[in-house]
Subunit: 261 residues, 2 copies
């Protein structure tokens, strides 16, 4: 059985969804002022509390600035938001993906991954090494089952991140991972070669065990380069797709909150 959790959107979540879409897709420009809270209540047909909760979240995300008495203005999220926004930017409302964003993410992955491996090697602990060994052994045992390998590959990098003892990398990685998990099914084929590369994973693990930062870095660079081009090609193809057939449609469970009057 492969059941998926039923998405239950609250009203304020729907308001957030809708407003953030307007901003992220440029239909409201930076500098524009949002309608007043009471006006939004009328337009969306919901309570003011729900509007305020959504606006607070938009403020937290760096999309708008709220000024007591002076209305809310839209910010330029490119200069004010954090990495949380990545998955929202990659997945368009119509279910398609944005190639530029995908390329950015892959570039960041390619830059951070090797440094994570290097730091993990420099700061290695017995605990992390043991769990890395277990992880690689599990990959060897389940070689062939692509979904299991994908999960183990995620665990592998999670361990590296943990071993690197760098909270900034870890937080950035969270954003990358959550974006990745949204597209997991889609990317499975493109990343098959990379997640199935047992030798590549083992080499990183061994370099870390020996505390050889440079080798861990180089091995990680090699492993990550495997999937990059395949993913970029796939993303390019996905972007060109007509939105009607967008395969990621099942992922966007925005509720309908139309302005009908």
């Amino acid at each position: 059985m492969a059941l998926t959790k039923i998405a239950r959107n609250s009203v304020s979540d729907a308001v957030y969804e809708q407003l953030s879409r307007e901003i992220l897709e440029g239909r409201i420009q930076p500098g524009d002022t949002l309608p007043a809270e009471r006006a939004l209540c009328d337009m969306l047909g919901v309570n003011r509390g729900a509007i305020r909760e959504a606006l607070k979240r938009l403020g937290q995300a760096g999309l708008v600035e709220i000024r007591h008495g002076g209305g809310s203005t839209v910010l330029d999220f490119r200069s004010s938001a954090g990495t949380d926004l990545l998955s929202g930017l990659l997945l368009r409302a119509d279910g398609g993906v944005d190639y530029e964003v995908g390329r950015s993410i892959m570039e960041m992955r390619a830059a951070l991954g090797p440094d994570v491996a290097r730091l993990c090697a420099l700061r290695r602990s017995d605990d992390v090494i043991h769990r890395l060994e277990d992880c690689v052994h599990a990959m060897e045992r389940d070689a062939g089952d692509i979904h299991t390998l994908q999960a183990l590959d995620i665990e592998f990098w999670q361990l590296l991140i943990e071993g690197a003892q760098n909270i900034a990398y870890r937080l950035a990685y969270n954003s990358l991972r959550s974006t990745y998990e949204h597209l997991r099914e889609l990317l499975a084929r493109a990343l098959t070669k990379e997640v199935s590369d047992l030798t590549g994973h083992r080499k990183i693990m061994q370099a870390i065990r020996e505390g050889d930062g440079a080798r861990a870095e180089a091995s990680a660079r090699r492993l990550l380069s495997t999937g990059t081009e395949a993913v970029l090609a796939l993303l390019q193809w996905l972007e060109a797709l007509p939105s009607a057939t967008a395969p990621a449609a099942s992922l966007s469970n925005d509720s309908d909150l139309e302005v009908t009057d």
Copy 2:
């Protein structure tokens, strides 16, 4: 005159401040359930709407998970939050700084900066090049004025980020920059050498103008390494400081929202 903006904390902001501090500093552990909203109202003596706005923000930041009917549980922010959290983690509530977090940030800076310079060189546009030249010229003109140089150095990197056309880097950089700006005065002396290194900036600019990615990357690496050790030494010293004399105290304008009854 060097006046600082007066911080006007709304009630819900104060609630967010207080709860996020409890979580970030580990006084509430991941997995714990938060008090019920109505209980928080009593404890903090504020309206339920304010509590809810704060909780929504905590959810947005990846610090808590809210379940309809089932209470709110604290998440492990190390695995669920984005880079927005960095400045909150670096600056402790008592006004001190966390050395580990600072080191993490400097490492990320050292990894991202050179790749940003490389990409900027590969994707350079006339517009960015011209503005970079203007920026470097301005630095040469105002050499000696450390505060102006600091501002121009920020502008220099902002231009590189823009030229690199990588939204992931840009969003991560936003978090680094906002953290940096919180500590600007503190770090001024430690970074004097780096921001005053006109040759270093010029070399990067020239490599970008010529589209030489490798050289831009190498030059950036050299420039950034200048300030790293000085900053780390300063952070280490700051962390050891008794909190009473913490020099960053003026930055923490949390309002007092004590539980007095």
